[in-house]
């Protein structure tokens, strides 16, 4: 199925869990914030969170900034 990950279309396996997706693309859960379709996903629900086709997923981390 297709999702939109940080603005780019991406093919992932059906019913993939958020935590599996993060580990597949090499993103450390620690320090990462996730929003799905504009809604923030609480960290404690990452493991059970199922991704649906067409979901817009945003992954954010800290960078340098004033």
């Amino acid at each position: 199925m297709k999702i939109v990950l940080n603005g780019n279309e991406k093919e992932v396996s059906d019913e993939i869990l958020l935590s599996t997706l993060l580990s597949e693309i090499g993103i450390d859960e620690k320090g990462t914030a996730v929003a799905i379709n504009g809604e923030i996903v609480p960290k404690k629900t990452f493991h059970g969170k199922k991704i649906n086709a067409g979901d817009r997923i945003d992954l954010l981390r800290a960078i340098g900034g004033g």
């Binding site: 990950l5 940080n6 603005g7 780019n8 693309i25 993103i27 450390d28 620690k30 320090g31 990462t32 914030a33 996730v34 929003a35 923030i40 996903v41 609480p42 960290k43 945003d58 992954l59 954010l60 981390r61 800290a62 960078i63 340098g64 900034g65 004033g66």
Partner: protein, 210 residues
């Protein structure tokens, strides 16, 4: 010198460091360590999945340093609130340097949207440090709704022009019961010294643009 207190947290350093303009994470870490600063700002951005990015957090000793995530990039209250919530969910901090800057040229803070966002974030339990123009009325109103500090600008971000808002900052300091942190425009050690002479509680500086 006595200690700086922000929302019940105590700091011995009155120097806050921005992490925006360092050529490498190593030089940023060295600057933070040498400065003795205990509060360091970071921004929150979408991860660029097309390239390997060094993790800035692994260069900051969080046993010693309090992170101050900012809401840079926010153009209105809604975007700023979203960024603050994301930063908290990412485990960065309950502190937030609230920045709402809708116009790209001078990045001047929007007082109306900043106030709206501050009201929401204070209610949600954030420790809110709003970046504002040096406006004594706005500063007082932000104090009244529960902000932890106010952060008036000396001159526009990145301009290095020093404190061009001296009289207004002095008024803010005179009337304030919360710490006043002079932020933005400080481009020389003498500018930081001037802020402290006026009576500011702290300053926020970052690396000068080359």
């Amino acid at each position: 010198m006595d200690e700086l207190k922000i929302a019940g947290k105590t700091f011995s350093s009155r120097l806050l460091i921005g992490t925006g303009k360092f050529p490498s994470n190593d030089s940023m870490r060295d600057a933070i360590e040498s400065s003795g600063a205990q509060i360091v700002t970071v921004a929150l951005r979408r991860v660029d999945l097309s390239k390997e990015e060094g993790d800035i957090l692994s260069y900051i000793d969080r046993n010693r340093i309090t992170l101050l995530p900012n809401t840079s990039g926010a153009r209105d209250a809604k975007e700023a609130v979203m960024l603050a919530r994301l930063a908290r969910e990412a485990g960065l901090s309950d502190l937030v340097k609230l920045e709402v800057a809708p116009e790209p040229r001078y990045l001047m803070p929007d007082p109306v949207e900043t106030f709206k966002a501050a009201e929401i974030l204070v209610k949600e339990g954030f420790i809110v440090l709003p970046y504002i123009n040096a406006d004594p009325i706005l500063a007082k109103k932000l104090e009244e709704i529960g902000c932890a500090t106010v952060m008036p600008l000396g001159s526009p971000i990145g301009s290095n022009r020093g404190i061009k808002t001296r009289d207004a900052i002095a008024m803010i300091i005179e009337q304030s019961n919360i710490p006043v942190v002079v932020d933005a425009g400080l481009g020389a050690p003498s500018h930081a010294a001037e802020a402290m002479e006026i009576g500011a509680d702290a300053v926020l500086v970052t690396r000068l643009s080359p």
